[in-house]
Symmetry: C2
Amino acid sequence: MNTNLQTPIFRQLFDQESSTYTYLIADPETKEAVIIDPVYEKYERDESLIKNLGLKLLYILETHVHADHVTSASKLKTRFNAKIAISKNSGNQCADIGLVDNQILQFGRFEIKALPTPGHTNGCMSFLFQNMVFTGDSLMIGLAGRTDFQEGSSEKLYESVQSQLFTLSEDTLVYPGHDYQGFTVSTIGEEKKFNKRLGGGKTEQEFSSIMSSLNLPKPKKIDIAVPANMVCGVKKT
Amino acid sequence: MNTNLQTPIFRQLFDQESSTYTYLIADPETKEAVIIDPVYEKYERDESLIKNLGLKLLYILETHVHADHVTSASKLKTRFNAKIAISKNSGNQCADIGLVDNQILQFGRFEIKALPTPGHTNGCMSFLFQNMVFTGDSLMIGLAGRTDFQEGSSEKLYESVQSQLFTLSEDTLVYPGHDYQGFTVSTIGEEKKFNKRLGGGKTEQEFSSIMSSLNLPKPKKIDIAVPANMVCGVKKT
């Protein structure tokens, strides 16, 4: 892994409706860029930002097949001639790259690495870039992704967090796929201590017990979002 | 100005209801910290974060007397024995420090400088820290603060932005007091080019014309927020 810490262009973007974070990372010299988890309704905002910054979008990365919003991957791919990448275990039917565990993608002088973090879904990945990890719905600030729909498995999620995320340096910045309290970032050290579902040394049994007692409602958009995201955000209108 | 670029602890926090950004900056060695524009309803979140990070909150900085949300300054002051600082031109009746133009406050190994940026209100200040500027409601991403209530003056705001903000290095990161599109940060260079109200070399006349034609509704909370913020967020219940 290239640990070159040259400063990237870095933007965190928020969709208020679904509380989703999208991330744009670029090399300021070559202008080559990746975007993580873009949202369909925010296409115009993101397209305009990429254009204004003069970036060359190489990759559209999805942490997983989302159940709560539709991706703008197809629209961005068409507009910028970029490649869509998602875990080969995601069931996605249209990606250009089916990511394998620990696969590295290069953009400009930078590298981003796909860590396998299944549990919320089978095809969940987290993306490691310099001292930042983009955790999608695996590890969230103070929380963990749901394990009660799609291929959710609290056993798998616990193992993923313990082996892939909690082994990272404690000062690694955690950038989640969502936040509902207005946090934008945390650290691995804080999550190990304070995460309500996974922190403070909780055992897998304790985690599974918490997750099975959440009794959350079915995600509102799941019946639209999952099929649309399986085909990279081509919405049926 | 101390240009020591040692990495601070830095957290951007969001209040979805008022679309307000709060910022927490701390020295990781001494743990001394400042918070900018904290929101009353988010007191528990922010108190918990400061406590979890083991910080010693020295200053609560207000960019101005807000019209759209109530500050948690008084509650944080009491909890952490911190000092409240706001422009001496703000009309605020309870601050510990009435900031003068270009005043510098120290926390740990760091310094933060209060730039006078009146126009949205008479007592608006922006805070410069390393390569970041916290602009409150003076310069926002793609926009500028309203000039049609309190002591709003588009002439003053234009002059403030031109003389205090657009003279900063183009790669200075702009962290606004609000955002309504899901942007978290921009740069002075981008705002000079792309800001819809101030960018692209707009004249003061062009800016004033745009501002006077906005016809926005009266801020919903102004009659509660302004009096409450004049006394640092002591709410009448």
